[in-house]
């Protein structure tokens, strides 16, 4: 499905893997994820302050910002493992608050801070998660993912002894096990070498193109964000500071690259506020 097992790496620079949609806004009708007025307050401090955005079908939205900007807090609230102080999360037209189980059946994620249990084999981990998501044909789905992610040689290997790249592929296989409508990726290529990172990016890119899915992606690698994301949001101090196309946004704010813009957001966010 992804061409991983054949060693094919899609040429991102050529742009032939861009998703069908590239517009900056997402209509409410086509939105996979709608976040409205989301806030989280810890002991009087606002970690996330009234954030609103949407992720459309086939869209990869980059959620950027310096450490402590509120990215992971936002993702935690979308995953339902952190209760917002205010605001709402709607996934595939269903409210996370009132239809939690239905929403989480259509959502999945991978994050560097949430590794799969290292004391189970690849096959065992994937089978357990297939059942946790209530899949009727769990074994067949696991077998298909092992093939898709070139994990057959590691099916009986404990996840804890895999290399970072192999663990990332297993985590991605788990993230796609329920064919999610919303995929949350919190720094999916962190700690990977450039070749592995490139392969992972092309795999996710292809997934977003072919499947009816929206992807929310966080990364500190601005080259990667420019290459993969259709749209980016810059978070600073829990608020959305900027939004736009990662290729044109730096120029709109007098910066040469997305990394320059990132540094400005991190150090001098007030200069970018209206």
């Amino acid at each position: 499905m992804f061409g991983w097992q054949t060693g094919k790496v899609v040429d991102q620079e050529a742009g032939n893997m861009r998703s069908p949609r590239n517009d900056l806004s997402t209509s409410a009708d086509s939105a996979i994820l709608t976040v409205a007025g989301l806030s989280k307050e810890y002991d009087g401090t606002l970690a996330v302050d009234g954030v609103s955005f949407q992720v459309g079908c086939h869209e990869i939205l980059g959620l950027l910002g310096p450490n402590g900007a509120g990215k992971t807090t936002t993702i935690s609230m979308i995953l339902g493992v952190l209760e917002p102080s205010a605001g709402s999360v709607t996934i595939d037209g269903k409210s996370l608050t009132t239809q939690r189980h239905q929403v989480l059946e259509r959502t999945n994620f991978t994050a560097v801070y949430a590794p799969l249990p290292g004391n189970l084999t690849v096959w065992q981990n994937l089978r357990v998660f297939a059942l946790l998501y209530g899949l009727p044909a769990a074994t067949e789905r696991v077998e298909a993912l092992l093939r898709e992610f070139d994990l057959l040689p590691f099916r009986n290997t404990k996840c804890g002894v895999l290399s970072s790249g192999e663990q990332t592929r297993v985590a991605l296989a788990k993230a796609m096990i329920n064919r999610p409508r919303l995929l949350l990726l919190d720094e999916p290529t962190a700690s990977l070498d450039p070749a592995s990172a490139r392969e992972i990016r092309s795999r996710i890119r292809e997934f977003a193109v072919k499947e009816e899915v929206g992807v929310l992606w966080t990364s500190h690698n601005m080259y990667e964000v420019t290459e993969v994301c259709d749209r980016v949001l810059f978070l600073s101090h829990g608020r959305i500071l900027l939004e736009g196309d990662p290729k044109t946004l730096p120029g709109e704010h007098g910066k040469a690259t997305l990394e320059d813009l990132f540094v400005t957001v991190a150090r001098e966010p007030l200069t970018l506020e209206d």
Binding site: T73, L82, H101, Q102, L104, P117, G118, L131, L132, P136
Partner: protein, 269 residues
């Protein structure tokens, strides 16, 4: 319904995968209980040999230790299942799935049932074969005795899991001694009347004390009071409900505070 069964089976399957592939997990499952049987078997045999009366210590002491270890095993079944997720930092992965708290706890309880029954069978075989203990002495009351002890063990296990979820992985050192803390009030080897009168009321709030009182009355040739078993049943069910309530309360607080999302030994206070 079928989807719920699949999710519960996932919790169960994960624990059996861990058990199947690890001698370090299988051996302790049986070892300590086997040591207890051997130790108390010899103590009972010795007391029978030096006692001037015709009193048989075997069903009183060795039988009591089998029942007590069954309770401890039920508790450990839940706690170990829960701690496996703590040790592998798996909370974020599992609680971001559609798995509900009720399904999660059901999975842990089913695992506890399976492991407790296997260990009970081992203890019965060892106590019978090595020391001639007959469980027919207790008659049909053995079934409600085991049920009450199992449910109380489950309740302690769920309560212990709530403590660890609330105060972090380091709190596991608070929950392993729970059986030892309760055993004086459970009156495993002596009657409630042997306790100072000022703490007897406390023992009467601990459901296993009724079980062990009943066991001793049967061995002494008396019947078990139905009223005391009714109180025992009520207290046990109340304990189970309180334990589940405390776990759900702690879980909801963990969702509010973000504890689930950043659950590590270093971040929980």
């Amino acid at each position: 319904m079928l989807v719920r069964v699949r999710r519960i089976s996932a919790v169960l399957l994960r624990l059996f995968y861990l058990l199947r592939g690890s001698y370090a997990r299988i051996v302790p499952l049986f070892a300590w209980q086997a040591v207890d049987i051997v130790l108390w078997g010899f103590i009972s045999r010795y007391l029978n040999s030096v006692s001037s009366s015709h009193f048989n210590f075997m069903p009183m002491l060795l039988g009591a230790i089998v029942l007590w270890d069954f309770l401890v095993r039920a508790l450990h079944g839940v706690i170990i299942g829960f701690m496996e997720d703590v040790w592998s930092r798996n909370f974020l992965n599992i609680f971001a799935t559609p798995l509900s708290i009720a399904e999660y706890l059901t999975g842990l309880i089913l695992f506890s049932i399976a492991t407790s029954l296997v260990v009970l069978a081992m203890m019965v075989v060892l106590a019978t074969a090595a020391f001639g203990l007959s469980f027919f002495v207790y008659g049909l009351m053995l079934v409600p005795f085991l049920l009450m002890l199992f449910l109380f063990g489950i309740a302690l296990g769920i309560f212990g899991a709530a403590i660890v979820l609330r105060w972090g992985p380091a709190a596991e050192w608070l929950i392993w001694p729970i059986p030892a803390l309760i055993s004086p009030l459970a009156c495993v080897f002596y009657p409630v009347s042997a306790l100072p009168s000022s703490v007897q009321w406390l023992a009467r709030l601990v459901p296993p004390s009724y079980v062990f009182e009943g066991m001793r009355r049967i061995v002494e040739g008396h019947g078990v009071s139905l009223a005391s078993m009714a109180v025992c049943t009520g207290l046990t069910l109340l304990t189970v409900l309180l334990a589940c309530w405390s776990f759900v309360g702690v879980y909801r607080q963990a969702i509010r505070t973000g504890l689930i999302a950043r659950y590590t030994a270093e971040t929980v206070s």
